[in-house]
Symmetry: C2
Subunit: 163 residues, 2 copies
């Protein structure tokens, strides 16, 4: 049962992660001014693959245990927000809205971690690297927004790409 759950949660992570291939950084992102500590592009898929395995494992461990209501609700919330961020940032080039989504994602991951921990400590710990990475991603999104105030699609609605 726990393995079936693991693979179903992993499939949800795959749906979220597929946005990385569908909405790649591309020229727009390459040309943006970025802080000196920006991780190299190749690190993102490596980090996310590792994180998604941890995220799915945490979900599966808690799914098979009682009193998992809030942990499961926040697990679902974080994966929806995780799926949403890439299309908003890399698809629509909405830096400010991307930051809003990332802050919501950070909060949902933080609460999920606490709720998972209350059911199963290992599951809670499996969310720690995720929270750390989303913190870095949030700082990067904020920094890119500050360094490129005119790159936000919402900053100049006329210049926004038509979708």
């Amino acid at each position: 049962m726990i393995w079936i759950c693991f693979f179903v949660f992993l499939a949800a992570c795959f749906a979220a992660g597929s946005t990385g291939g569908l909405f790649p950084p591309g020229r727009w992102y390459d040309q943006l001014a970025k802080p000196s500590w920006t991780p190299p592009n190749w690190l993102f898929p490596v980090a996310w693959t590792t994180l998604y395995i941890c995220i799915a494992a945490a979900g599966a461990r808690v799914a098979v245990q009682p009193d998992n209501a809030l942990a499961m609700a926040f697990w679902a919330l974080q994966i929806a927000l995780n799926t949403l961020w890439t299309p908003v940032f890399f698809g629509l080039h909405k830096l400010r809205l991307g930051l809003v989504v990332l802050v919501a994602l950070w909060l949902s991951v933080a609460v999920a971690m606490v709720m998972l921990w209350s059911v199963d400590r290992i599951a809670g710990m499996l969310f720690l690297p995720y929270l750390a990475w989303v913190t870095v991603a949030g700082a990067l999104n904020l920094s890119v927004l500050r360094l490129n105030p005119d790159a936000d699609a919402d900053a100049d609605a006329e210049a926004a790409p038509e979708v």
Copy 2:
């Protein structure tokens, strides 16, 4: 507890549903040939708002009950796929890949319905309109793909919008 869970699941639905506003149909969709039974544009947000309330209620009812592992895993999977479809179809204009996502969504909703039903019959029934609507959406996506074979962004990679 069940109310908190309801609002967390509803927040996940809101993240999924926000793609409808972020990636609106627009001129591209308006110009596509569509089958005679295509629902009018205004019906989609009305239907989805109703469905999301049912989907969140089903999730909350089952989250607070024991033996909910697979139901919760498939609830998470369907919301990730639900969030993914709109950016793929309306954002990237990938009709064929959109259909693949919709088939995966249909399967995840169908299995989620069975798993929810096994824990709580009302929760299972709350997923029935969702499955019906995704069936319509899938038939529409297939029909639009057949009627507009050249509209698929993947059909002519050179003409694909840069994102």
